[in-house]
Amino acid sequence: MSRSMSSACRQWLDPISQYVDGELEEELCEALEAHLQHCPDCRLYLDTLAKTVRIVRASLREVPIELPSDLQERILRRVREAKSK
């Protein structure tokens, strides 16, 4: 079951992102919390945005990284070349 967000609630989208990081300034923070009390849509947006951030952190940060073979060597060679110039 999915619905779309009302245009009146869209003004809260940016503040909600800052709220997730605990970086929303105090006054706005109080206003947002008052709005959240009676707005299930913004509560759902907050919940799913916070989950998005957690999924990103747990997923994209943990991707194993493999350097192309010899890349480290090629970097060192270039650095040494530049040094001997």
């Binding site: 869209r10 799913t48 999924i55 990103v56 994209l60 480290q72 270039r78």
Partner: protein, 196 residues
């Protein structure tokens, strides 16, 4: 270039090898996500360490080493992107980032984030959504949410205001959230179809 000799002589070779070993993999992954091309990412990585080596003398005592290296690497990548497409950071291109999608999906996610994150399919959905972001949004999102820099550090790396970082991050997350909402909606309807 006699002016640089002091810096180079001061640069300790073995320390620098250790720096490459520690940071090359992370920086390469960051550059790959930014540039979307292995050869471009490799070129940018080489340039990054070359510049880092040449300016090692300037580094001492300043910001954290990782912030400094990411700044060099990110600027290198942004320069490459601009060279390929000079209008990429034009006002018009940035205005597109301000537009909210017509629809913002509001479905419940019955998932545990850390568990959902383990799926390879989920990772693909995310990587593709990251690739669809405009470069201006992508770079902020990668530095903040993937590489884990603070708002201030990200602002410093990119030379933009903290407010600009917050706004762009919000717009990027919104798009990522939308991709996940569509994905969860799809997999939920698949499950209920399977149950029928």
């Amino acid at each position: 270039m006699p002016g640089q000799e002091g810096g180079m002589a001061a640069a300790d070779d073995q320390t620098f090898v250790a720096v490459i070993q520690e940071y090359a993999p992370r920086l390469y992954r960051h550059l790959l996500r930014l540039l979307q091309d292995p050869q471009d990412a490799e070129d940018a990585l080489q340039e990054t360490f070359l510049k880092a080596y040449q300016h090692l003398g300037d580094f001492r005592g300043q910001a954290r080493l990782s912030t400094w290296l990411y700044r060099i690497a990110t600027n290198e990548a942004l320069m490459q992107l601009r060279r390929k497409n000079p209008t990429i950071f034009s006002l018009e291109a940035l205005q597109g980032d301000d537009a909210y999608p017509d629809e913002i999906l509001l479905n419940q996610w019955q998932i545990l984030p850390e568990q959902a994150a383990l799926s390879a399919e989920m990772r693909q959905v995310l990587e593709r959504a990251v690739q669809r972001l405009s470069p201006a949004l992508r770079v902020v999102f990668l530095l903040r949410d993937v590489e884990g820099f603070s708002t201030r550090e990200t602002a410093e790396i990119l030379g933009i205001s903290s407010d600009a970082v917050k706004t762009r991050l919000s717009r990027a997350r919104l798009r990522l959230r939308e991709a996940l909402a569509r994905y969860f909606q799809g997999s939920a309807s698949q499950r209920s179809e399977a149950a029928l």
